[in-house]
């Protein structure tokens, strides 16, 4: 069809990869390229840029510009929301990192009954609907109707409608992210260095800190960035386990929902702008880290 140029095949045979690709260019390629660019422009690029634009533009009768945007973001309710989001995300990421590195080591370096089941189950949290995550935690930890309700009632520990619940919901939805990054790297680097260290008299702890951790360092960082981005942006699960009222369990994402629902669009766009910036930042960090990972092998 498009191969009307003389000898595209000969050229391809002498230098398969590059020439072969080049010979494929034709009207069809141009059509596909246009379709893809338009699709992504209308579905993603334009809407996202509009949100950024609206954060700075005068919205709903309120003035635009950097000053008013800053004011909306330093409003006490917004500050509370972002602070809560950061606190919750911090603890969720810390928990997921420790748990993730530990379970990755166990799954890769050890054999035990139930190992395969565990490695499949580990992936489950990311496929569960956020609402179901919230519901599951409520049905387990709510003092009134949870399985552990009575126990929690007697100890006076509140999980649902309080920060521990938010942390659990956030940790749940981002649980596999560190593990998914660390496991392939652990498998790739093998056990030789660790065995050598141990044969030279290093104990388990020393082997981990001096040998294993430096080898998986970038995978851990990568997983942490992904977890943090996911944690900061979590909405569905958090909505169910939190009261979500102003100064009372309202995270950044819940703030956006509440403000938008209260026709205070300017505040919603301002908070959304911050989250968009954080998301893009995470993407950039992830893209910068990627090559490092492939270099190592």
């Amino acid at each position: 069809m498009a191969d009307t140029i003389p000898s595209p095949i000969d050229g391809a045979l002498t230098a398969p990869a590059r020439r072969g690709v080049r010979s494929r260019r034709g009207p069809l390629a141009l059509v596909l390229r246009t379709v893809v660019v338009l699709y992504l422009f209308f579905l993603v690029a334009w809407p996202v840029s509009l949100v950024v634009q609206r954060a700075f533009a005068p919205t709903g009768g309120q003035p635009g510009g950097i000053g008013p945007l800053w004011e909306r973001l330093t409003d006490p309710a917004a500050v509370y929301a972002f602070y809560l989001t950061l606190t919750v995300s911090f603890w969720a990421v810390v928990i997921n990192t420790i748990f993730g590195v530990g379970i990755s080591l166990l799954l890769v370096r050890h054999r035990f009954p139930g190992r395969r089941v565990l490695s499949v189950l580990i992936d489950l949290p990311m496929s569960v609907s956020p609402v179901v995550v919230g519901l599951a935690l409520v049905l387990t930890y709510s003092t009134s109707l949870g399985i552990f309700g009575d126990v929690l009632q007697t100890t006076g520990l509140r999980i649902i409608n309080s920060t521990p619940g938010l942390i659990m919901a956030t940790a749940f939805v981002s649980l596999p992210l560190v593990i998914r990054e660390v496991i392939p790297v652990l498998e790739e680097v093998g056990e030789d260095a660790e065995t050598a260290a141990r044969s030279l008299g290093a104990n388990g702890w020393q082997t981990f800190w001096r040998i294993t951790l430096p080898m998986i360092k970038w995978a851990v960082v990568y997983g942490v960035v992904l977890s943090a981005a996911r944690a900061i942006g979590e909405y569905g699960a958090v909505r169910i386990v939190s009261r979500g009222a102003e100064f009372n369990g309202e995270t950044a994402t819940l703030l956006i929902q509440n403000e938008y629902g209260a026709f205070n669009e300017a505040a919603a766009y301002a908070a959304a702008f911050v989250l968009v910036v954080l998301a893009v930042l995470a993407l950039v960090v992830v893209t910068v880290l990627r090559p490092q990972e492939s270099h190592r092998s």
């Binding site: 045979l13 809407p47 166990l106 649980l175 994402t253």
Partner: protein, 286 residues
């Protein structure tokens, strides 16, 4: 954010990299045994017991109550709408995702790297922000005069947005590794480009497309955040399963919420099992 790395059916965590010398036997030391115990306890408290609680809550009323709940008019309509929309979105993703992956791998043009970032944005953005993002172009103040709030088209669009990267990111690596030689050979033997695509490229991509499609379908079925602002939540019209669950929870009908939730859980488990099977088949083929 989940899928930037989800999209690797070939990297199932279970694949043992070392020859199994003493399979079946435990190699745990005492310290790692304690570690495993702690990890399993935490995992149970966080994930397994809560998910079991959902199943228990759904089962408590017995089979008839469960069936009664999910076949009740509004709920059945919500489930049907969710499945239909998710299926449609998956079909569009299979076609567009493959085309996008194709363009990203085989085409070169200025600005291609920007597209790479644009594709990951839907995963990176919080779902509530995704809803707001779409509202800014396709909502009440739309600069192009299109208002999809409270409509099924709005749901479709939101699902299309959040599932965008799945097929692209599963197909892309496979396409990158696909040997151009085979295509050239087919072409030199007289195969048309359509035939080459159908007989050579498509079979090689099929497992990746299937994996991406399953992920997209599962995500679409369970999507919540991006739909909250856009769907409008009208019973029997624009109410999807996840928002129906929310309504049940807010109405203190936890058992009914759990019944619908169990359906969503089932889909999630099925997809995980399917992906595991696909990745093992691919691994077995080498």
């Amino acid at each position: 954010m989940n899928g930037i790395t989800t999209a690797r059916p070939d990297a199932a965590p279970a694949a043992p990299s070392r020859p199994r010398r003493r399979a079946r036997r435990s190699t745990l030391t005492r310290a790692s045994g304690v570690g495993l115990g702690l990890a399993v306890v935490w995992f149970s408290l966080l994930v397994l017991i809560p998910l079991a609680a959902v199943v228990i809550a759904a089962a408590e009323g017995g089979w008839d109550t469960f069936v009664g709940t999910i076949t009740d008019g509004d709920t059945a309509a919500a489930i049907r709408l969710t499945v239909v929309e998710a299926a449609l979105v998956t079909v569009v993703n299979v076609v567009m995702g493959t085309v996008i992956a194709w363009v990203l791998v085989r085409d070169t043009f200025p600005g291609k790297r920007v597209l790479e970032v644009v594709i990951d944005l839907p995963f990176a953005l919080p779902t509530i922000v995704a809803g707001l993002v779409l509202l800014s172009l396709y909502g009440p103040d739309s600069p192009v005069g299109v208002n999809l709030v409270n409509s099924r088209q709005g749901i479709f669009l939101a699902l299309l947005f959040v599932t965008l990267p799945f097929v692209v990111r599963t197909v892309q690596p496979v396409l990158l590794e696909l040997d151009a030689d085979v295509e050239e050979a087919a072409a030199s033997l007289g195969a048309s480009r359509a035939t080459t695509f159908r007989r050579i490229i498509l079979p090689a991509l099929a497992p990746a497309i299937t994996a991406g499609a399953s992920l997209a379908f599962a995500r679409a079925i369970s999507e919540f955040g991006s739909l909250v602002l856009i769907a409008g939540n009208q019973p029997r019209n624009t109410e999807v399963a996840s928002l129906k669950i929310l309504k049940y929870i807010e109405g203190d009908q936890q058992a009914a919420a759990a019944s619908v939730a169990v359906l969503l859980l089932l889909v999630a488990v099925l997809v995980i099992v399917a992906l595991d099977l696909i990745s093992r088949r691919v691994a077995a083929r080498g």
